[in-house]
Symmetry: C2
Subunit: 257 residues, 2 copies
């Protein structure tokens, strides 16, 4: 009896650790630890917090999907998400969610990050440098990546109702990040960052303004920048020409949510 | 010793049940039960399955956000998501994720649903009938809802990498559902359903074609329908006029992902 009860305690303790570890793949570990201790759900609701939000798109995904069997599409997506996720995590970012072929990631929530702008740009730069590796492991030479970063206040917390909850961030800062991605697409750069992200970077980072205008949903003009390094440009087309047209507004910029 | 070990077993068993229950708010219960039993993550990857995908948008959210304190925004969003989520769950749907102020839901994955088209349309109709209730509990008279439904094959399974996983669905069927929402917006209806959803409904459902054209990302024309009941129309404007213009293509239809 004693032996069996003690043995069972050990088994159950191991199982609890295992469950917490397994669930940690789906939800922020801090949220899980809190639940395991308190045996309660976090309060629904949230706090306002300054974060950097990233949208990271796999470019050419739809085209690729048409050529591949379903199982291979998932294999390629997972290989991309795994490689990109490692860079995000290494640079202290949090993967908020996958939206189709895109990753939404956050810096400075739920964990504190000292300089979220620098951490996010460093991660983005590293991810873009992974492109050849990603093409190689997935055997998809036409894949490309596009990353948009925006900094600002968001609501952070548990969103949802009784039947489904998500720990996430929401607000204009998120929508704007998504719209900045359209600027990146328009300007054929792999990375586009907002003024607010640029302002948080060390002076040594080689920034180049690529666009100024009014994004849908914003009441003032916004400048969008990129890192002026060769691997950021999708085409080896003359960079100067692109930069010259950078001051014009674009009609292509649109985001539906 | 015996007592304390036996007591601990009871505590640990209760805690494990509690963890599984708490996690059920964040992840499909079937996936959790599988993990709790096997103490292993599900295989990454997926199967192809016929589902109905829904995008349910809170209309007027951005405008509302500007007027409210952050805490109130979260309170309103959560009240909406809770009320809508209850209808989805009642009609056998699964809440895949929250994307900003929108809900993405699925019928026939992970659980089998006998007639997913009917279940999804019934849920959508019920949700739209909840609008007055939602406006009342949130004290936001200007809130509105927009729902788009599409049926077709998707990839269902665990997506992601080592650092973050999601049980989700992906594929053209999902993107098309999102684009159909733009048709609903354009035509000022609260519900837009694709031909494939319409084909799966009982003959008694009063369908009305509102648009035919080529959505971005698709190579053939698609017809979009609505339920021809008063509460579906956002404006009490002449419905016939709207229906007459329903055959024209729209340039507004666009989805970025």
């Amino acid at each position: 009896m004693v032996v069996s009860a003690v043995g069972k305690v050990i088994v159950l303790q191991r199982r609890q650790r295992s469950l917490v570890r397994l669930f940690g793949h789906y939800l922020a570990p801090d949220v899980i630890k809190h639940m395991a201790r308190s045996e309660q759900l976090p309060e629904l609701g949230g706090d306002t917090r300054h974060v950097v939000v990233a949208f990271i798109d796999i470019v050419g995904f739809t085209k690729m999907s048409e050529k591949l069997a379903d199982q291979d599409v998932v294999r390629v997506v997972n290989a991309c998400f795994d490689a990109i996720g490692q860079s995000i995590t290494k640079h202290q970012g949090y993967i908020d969610k996958y939206i189709g072929d895109a990753i939404m990631a956050v810096w400075n929530a739920p964990n504190t990050v000292e300089n979220p702008e620098k951490a996010a740009v460093d991660a983005a730069h590293e991810i873009i440098n992974l492109l050849d590796h990603i093409r190689q492991i997935t055997d998809q030479q036409e894949l490309d990546l596009r990353i948009a970063l925006n900094a600002g206040p968001v609501l952070v917390g548990d969103i949802g109702g009784e039947h489904r909850r998500s720990f996430t961030v929401m607000g204009t800062t998120v929508n704007t990040a998504s719209r900045i991605e359209s600027v990146a697409k328009d300007k054929k750069v792999r990375l586009a960052i907002s003024q607010s992200v640029a302002d948080g970077l060390p002076k040594s980072y080689p920034l180049s303004e690529i666009w100024t205008g009014q994004l849908r949903g914003l009441s003032t003009d916004l400048s969008v920048y990129t890192l002026d390094v060769a691997e950021i440009y999708m085409e080896s087309a003359p960079k100067d020409a692109e930069r010259q047209s950078g001051q014009e507004s674009s009609n292509l910029v649109e985001f539906p949510r």
